[in-house]
C-alpha cells in the first residue's frame, strides 16, 4: 500500500472516530468500526479488541467477525497468548511466525494455525497510565508488522481507549453527577476568588474573572487551582494582576 493512500485511509478513520465521539454512540459499535478500519489499513485478515472487566478478566468486546473460531482464538490469546502479554507488559507484542512460537502458548498456537493464521500483533490500549485492554490483529501471512504499522496500530488503539472512557462517562450516572458536581463547586470557588480580587484591586468582577483565566492559561494551571490559590492566599493578588497586565 502506498504511503499516500495509507495516510488518506488513516485520516478518514480518525475523522470517522471523531464524529462518533461527539454524538451519542455505543462503545461496542465504535470499537467494531475501529478494529475493522485497523485491519483494513494494516492489511490484516482479522482483529479483535479485548477489555478488562472489574474483576480483572479480559473480554472480547469487538472483532472483525463474530465467528466462534475467531472468538475462541481471541479468548485463548487473552488467557495464555500474545494478547495477555501485551496487556500485562503494556507493550506491543508481535509474533511474526506463530508456527515458530514453539511451546510458549501451545493451545493458542494450535488453534490459530488450525484456522490459517500465521502471524499476530497485539497492541495495548492505554488510558491515563493504565492499560485497559488490548487490540489483536491476525494475518494469514508470515511476517512482522513494520515500525510504521506499529505506530498506526498504537494510534488507533489509543483512540479506542478514549472512546471507552467517553462511554463509561455516559453509562455511569454517578460519575456524571460527580463531574457535574465538581464543575459546580469549581464555579463557587471561582466566585470566591473573584470576590478576593474585587476587594483587593480596582478591577470589576468581570475583569477579575478574566485575570484568573489569563493566569491559569499563562501558567498551564486549571482555573480551579488558580481560584483555590487566590482564596487561600497562596497565589498573591500582586502576582495575579502582574500576569493580567503583562498581556
Amino acid at each position: 500500500m502506498s504511503n499516500a493512500s495509507r495516510e488518506a485511509q488513516l485520516s478518514a478513520a480518525f475523522v470517522k472516530l471523531a464524529d462518533t465521539l461527539t454524538a451519542d454512540f455505543d462503545v461496542v459499535d465504535l470499537l467494531h468500526t475501529l478494529v475493522e478500519e485497523c485491519a483494513t489499513i494494516l492489511d490484516t485478515e482479522a482483529g479483535g479488541i479485548m477489555l478488562l472487566d472489574p474483576s480483572g478478566d479480559l473480554h472480547l468486546v469487538a472483532s472483525t467477525s463474530e465467528e466462534a473460531s475467531l472468538v475462541e482464538i481471541m479468548q485463548l490469546s487473552a488467557g495464555a497468548g500474545p494478547c495477555v502479554d501485551a496487556f500485562s507488559s503494556g507493550r506491543t507484542v508481535t509474533v511474526g511466525d506463530i508456527e515458530a512460537s514453539g511451546s510458549r502458548w501451545p493451545a493458542f498456537r494450535d488453534e490459530a494455525l488450525k484456522h490459517g493464521f500465521k502471524s499476530v500483533h497485539s497492541t495495548p490500549m492505554r488510558l491515563r497510565g493504565r492499560v485497559i485492554g488490548a487490540m489483536n490483529l491476525f494475518s494469514t501471512r508470515v511476517g512482522e508488522l513494520n515500525p510504521a504499522d506499529v505506530i498506526v496500530a498504537q494510534a488507533l488503539a489509543d483512540v479506542a481507549s478514549i472512546g471507552v472512557l467517553h462511554e463509561r462517562n455516559m453509562r455511569e450516572k454517578e460519575i456524571v453527577s460527580e463531574q457535574l458536581q465538581y464543575a459546580l463547586d469549581t464555579r463557587i470557588l471561582v466566585e470566591q476568588a473573584k470576590g478576593v480580587l474585587f476587594e483587593s484591586t480596582p478591577m470589576t468582577m468581570d475583569a477579575s474573572f478574566g485575570s484568573l483565566r489569563t493566569y491559569a492559561r499563562d501558567h498551564l494551571m486549571t482555573l480551579r487551582t488558580v481560584a483555590s490559590g487566590v482564596v487561600d492566599r497562596s497565589i498573591s493578588v500582586d502576582e495575579l494582576i502582574g500576569a493580567g497586565l503583562a498581556k
Binding site: K173, E174, S177, E178, Q181, Y182, L184, D185, T186, I188, L189, V190, E191, Q192, A193, K194, G195, V196, L197, F198, E199, S200, M205, A227, S228, V231, D232, R233
Partner: protein, 229 residues
C-alpha cells in the same frame, strides 16, 4: 415558606432536611447518617439524622465538642474510622469511650464544602467494621458537595432566617454570596470558612437575608473591616 432541596442528581424539589441523607443511604454501604453544620459562632448544630444511633453520634459529638465530625468541619478533610474497636481515638478520647456503648463499628465524616468554605460535615456509620472504597468515597464526596448549600439553607431556616428563600433568587444573587465571602476574606484577613460564617452571622444578627447582606457587601455599602465587633 418551605425550604427547597436540590436532589443529588436531579431537579430541585420541596423537602425536609432528611431528604439530604437519601443519596448517602441509597448509594453507600452504611447503616445510618447524620448532618451537622457550623453555626455563626463556629459551633455545630444538628440538621438531621436517619436513626436513633445516628442522632446519638451527632449529639455526643456536639456535647463533648470533639470527634470526627468536628475534625472534618474544622479541617475540610475526610475522617475515616474503618474499625471503631481497633482505632486509638487519640484525637477524641472521651467520644472514643462513649462510642463503645453504641452499635457503631465504623464511622466516617465527610466535610460539606462550598468551594473554599467548609460549612459542616456528614457523619456516616456502619454496624459492621470496614472501609469505604475509593469509588464510594468519591460518591460520598460528590453527594456532600451537592448538599452543602442546601444544608446551609436548612440551618438558616431552622435558625429563623426570614426573607426570600434561595430558590427564588436569581443565579447572580446566589453568586453574590460567594463573591461577598471572597471580599470578606480580604476585609478581615481570614479564611473563607470564617468569612462565610461571619456573613451568615451578620445576616442573622440583623434579621436580614444572606442575599441582602451579600448584595450590600458586593455593592460596597457594607464593609466587615469597619463593622463594629
Amino acid at each position: 415558606m418551605p425550604a427547597r432541596i436540590g436532589q443529588f442528581a436531579g431537579r430541585p424539589v420541596d423537602g425536609s432536611a432528611f431528604d439530604m441523607l437519601v443519596p448517602f443511604l441509597t448509594a453507600l454501604p452504611i447503616t445510618g447518617a447524620f448532618i451537622s453544620v457550623s453555626d455563626a459562632s463556629g459551633s455545630q448544630s444538628s440538621l438531621c439524622s436517619s436513626d436513633p444511633v445516628a442522632a446519638r453520634l451527632d449529639e455526643l459529638q456536639f456535647e463533648l465538642r470533639e470527634g470526627p465530625q468536628w475534625e472534618a468541619t474544622r479541617t475540610g478533610a475526610i475522617v475515616l474510622i474503618d474499625d471503631v474497636v481497633e482505632s486509638s481515638h487519640e484525637r477524641w478520647p472521651v467520644f472514643g469511650m462513649a462510642l463503645r456503648e453504641l452499635d457503631v463499628a465504623a464511622l466516617f465524616a465527610i466535610p460539606l464544602v462550598l468551594g473554599a468554605v467548609t460549612v459542616g460535615a456528614v457523619g456516616l456509620y456502619r454496624s459492621i467494621p470496614g472501609s469505604l472504597t475509593d469509588r464510594e468515597l468519591s460518591t460520598a464526596t460528590a453527594a456532600a458537595s451537592a448538599i452543602a448549600s442546601v444544608a446551609v439553607r436548612h440551618a438558616l431556616a431552622s435558625a429563623g432566617e426570614h426573607g426570600a428563600p434561595e430558590s427564588s433568587a436569581a443565579p447572580a444573587m446566589r453568586r453574590e454570596i460567594h463573591q461577598a465571602t471572597g471580599m470578606i476574606v480580604v476585609q478581615l484577613q481570614t479564611t473563607a470558612t470564617i468569612a462565610h460564617s461571619r456573613l451568615l452571622a451578620h445576616a442573622f444578627g440583623s434579621a436580614r437575608s444572606v442575599h441582602e447582606v451579600a448584595h450590600d457587601v458586593v455593592s460596597r455599602r457594607l464593609n466587615f473591616e469597619t463593622l463594629p465587633e
